[in-house]
């Protein structure tokens, strides 16, 4: 992915190249190798609606189809200089993104950054004022071309109160062109996936917030779509339900391209292969999570006590610079006795080796350590890049 068009001067990412050599590439290969195995009980193993309309989840695709498939879905999503204005207010200002097929991509940013607006344009809810958007090669509003190939979890969209869970999902399945005789099986499969197999006859109005979110996620997963857009999937949920939903999303990794918009940076760091950080409608940085967090370039050591043998640390092979910080990026005092930031050349060594050697030196110097992390962490990175 590449936000090259953004005027961001802070961005350190070299997304296109870097991502291809890191996780997403692996994911794509994995996806293709697996040929999208459905869940064991899935009706899709017989004749999925997606496979009938020629989508990428066909189980027995010919080599020629495979080539076409690969060629067709190299980038699941392309956004080029997208602008969205609401009257005088510019919510999204020249966003350019390329999201590789098979990757898990995060849209990150503070409130008002333009995440949900970008997401809504990707889902076809909003028309961009300027620029172009493509999902699997089609404009998001080309519903018929994207039918059953894209699943969307809209933020804060209420389920229809009068419908029962089962009939609502069956209706959704039928609109996705899943044949009537296969719709129930498809719905039961996704309900089981979100741990809601007993909710079939419950009215949507009777569902708790967590249950409703799961049903909404189930409708997004219905029909094994190639691209799934999830807007704030865990917003407003208690930690346990949020964790459970993260597991559901994690289980989808590798089966489709996932785009997750969220405030929860820890969650995105866990789930995503890559992300774009938005601020005031612009992409201020993007790239793989490793790149964004610099986890392959620096190690952070939280100190519970000084003194620190910085000179000894500098002697570690591959280490280029060592800093002792007492303030964090936002100017707040770091807990304990500060933090060591150890920069290293990723061509010469790796984070694990640096951690091992540096910890050995610190422990020999009687330093008490309260935490070690690779990179800056997404939260810190976002804090640095956004106002």
């Amino acid at each position: 992915m590449e936000p090259q068009e953004s005027k961001d001067v802070k961005s350190e990412a070299k997304p296109e190249a870097s991502l291809e050599e890191t996780k997403p590439e692996t994911k794509v290969a994995k996806t293709e190798a697996k040929s999208e195995p459905p869940p064991p009980s899935s009706s899709k193993s017989e004749e999925s609606p997606a496979s009938t309309n020629g989508s990428a989840v066909a189980l027995a695709a010919s080599p020629r189809d495979e080539v076409k498939k690969k060629k067709g879905v190299e980038y699941a999503i392309r956004a080029t200089k997208v602008v969205k204005r609401f009257g005088p207010k510019t919510a999204v200002d020249g966003v350019t993104l390329k999201i590789k097929a098979g990757s898990v991509y995060g849209l990150i940013g503070p409130n008002g950054a333009g995440k949900t607006t970008t997401f809504s344009m990707l889902a076809g809810f909003l028309e961009p004022t300027e620029g172009s958007l493509e999902v699997l090669g089609f404009a998001p509003t080309q519903v018929d071309s994207l039918r059953s190939r894209i699943g969307v979890l809209p933020q804060d969209a209420l389920l229809p109160n009068s419908d029962k869970v089962g009939e609502f999902l069956i209706h959704m399945a039928r609109l996705q062109n899943i044949p009537a005789d296969k719709a129930e099986a498809a719905v039961r499969t996704v309900l089981e996936e979100v741990d809601g197999k007993d909710w079939w006859n419950l009215r949507c109005s009777a569902l708790s917030h967590g249950m409703a979110k799961r049903v909404a996620i189930a409708q997004a997963f219905l029909g094994e779509p190639e691209v799934v857009l999830l807007d704030e999937p865990t917003a407003g949920l208690d930690p346990r339900v949020a964790w459970e939903i993260r597991q559901v999303i994690r289980a989808r990794k590798g089966r489709c391209t996932l785009v997750v918009s969220s405030h929860n940076l820890q969650e995105l760091e866990e789930i995503c292969d890559a992300a774009a950080i938005l601020d005031r409608g612009r992409v201020v940085a993007s790239g793989s999570i490793n790149e964004l967090t610099a986890s392959s370039e620096e190690v952070h050591v939280e100190l519970a006590s000084a003194p620190v043998g910085l000179d000894a640390l500098r002697q570690v092979p591959g280490v280029t610079r060592v800093e002792h910080q007492e303030m964090d990026a936002m100017g707040y005092r770091v807990q304990g006795d500060g933090e060591l930031v150890i920069h290293f050349d990723k061509k010469l060594t790796n984070a694990e080796s640096v951690i091992g050697q540096c910890l050995w030196i610190l422990l020999q110097n009687q330093v008490r350590i309260s935490g070690v992390s690779k990179g800056r962490g997404l939260e810190r990175r976002v804090m640095e890049l956004t106002d």
């Binding site: 809810f125 009068s162 419908d163 959704m172 609109l175």
Partner: protein, 280 residues
């Protein structure tokens, strides 16, 4: 999946939702009670009339009815003659139905689109169906619901009238069906206007008020048309289309049908075109 299949699926859901909702059930019960009570009263009156005025020949009754109907339909003798053969109760129920249709349409249709736009529920549909299909599904769903509710009311009146001895079953059901079918294009016209207006707003209550205001404005235009004896102006109120649709002259009937179709095509077409372009 073609747009027609999409519309059919959405209409099926709308019908299920409307007839299962509290609003739908209450309106259905009210229609049944109203229709039933009216039919019973009329049947009693018919019996009394037959008993008390048994000596007055039927032809004389028919003449009186014909004159009254001719006057009612602005001196249209053909209409008077044609409708004088139908049982009074069926004509009266038809008139009531046509007058109540805008109310039914407003109450049943005000939140069809706006309610789902307000809570973004519509987003579950717009990724799966064309916006125009969604809109047309809502429109046809409303039209069929209103026609269904009126059919139930008519049906009850037909049954009570038949058993009450108003006329033979053949006469009652023949005329009854004709009167009900006349209400269908009128309900379609009202539904198209209502869905067009309701879909412009995100708040159902604002939609309801706007529908009521527009319907009232159309009624005022009709009154202005009556005052100035301008037939085209009276036709902006779909409730006057029965003057055309009940007419035995094919040309007048066709004009009525064309006007109703004009309302439907304009309302539903404009509504779906606007909805397809708007942000949801």
């Amino acid at each position: 999946m073609n747009p027609i299949q999409e519309v059919i699926l959405i209409v099926q859901r709308e019908l299920r939702k409307n007839f299962r909702s509290v609003k739908g059930i209450v309106l259905l019960i009210l229609s049944l009670l109203g229709g039933g009570a009216f039919a019973v009263i009329n049947a009693i009156l018919t019996r009394l009339k037959t008993r008390e005025m048994g000596d007055v020949p039927e032809e004389q009754f028919r003449m009186i009815r014909e004159q009254g109907l001719t006057k009612f339909y602005d001196g249209d003798a053909d209409m008077g003659r044609f409708l004088s053969d139908s049982p009074d109760i069926l004509w009266t129920v038809s008139l009531i139905t046509i007058w109540l249709t805008p109310l039914l349409v407003a109450v049943l249709g005000y939140d069809g689109v706006s309610g789902e736009v307000q809570h973004r529920t519509v987003r579950f549909w717009t990724v799966r169906s064309r916006r125009t299909s969604y809109f047309m599904g809502k429109f046809f769903g409303l039209w069929l619901t209103v026609s269904g509710v009126t059919l139930v009311m008519h049906l009850l009146v037909w049954i009570i009238s038949t058993f009450g001895g108003v006329a033979s079953a053949g006469t009652v059901f023949g005329w009854g069906l004709r009167y009900w079918m006349v209400s269908i294009p009128i309900a379609g016209a009202w539904s198209a206007i209502a869905v067009l207006i309701a879909s412009q707003f995100r708040t159902p209550m604002v939609s309801l008020l706007s529908i009521c205001i527009v319907f009232f404005v159309l009624f005022c235009l009709k009154l202005t048309g009556v005052w100035f004896e301008s037939v085209p102006l009276t036709c902006v109120y779909p409730g006057t289309l029965d003057n055309f649709l009940l007419n035995p002259q094919m040309k007048r009937f066709a004009i009525g049908l064309a006007i109703a179709a004009g309302f439907i095509v304009t309302g539903a077409g404009a509504g779906s075109a606007i909805f397809a372009k708007r942000d949801v």
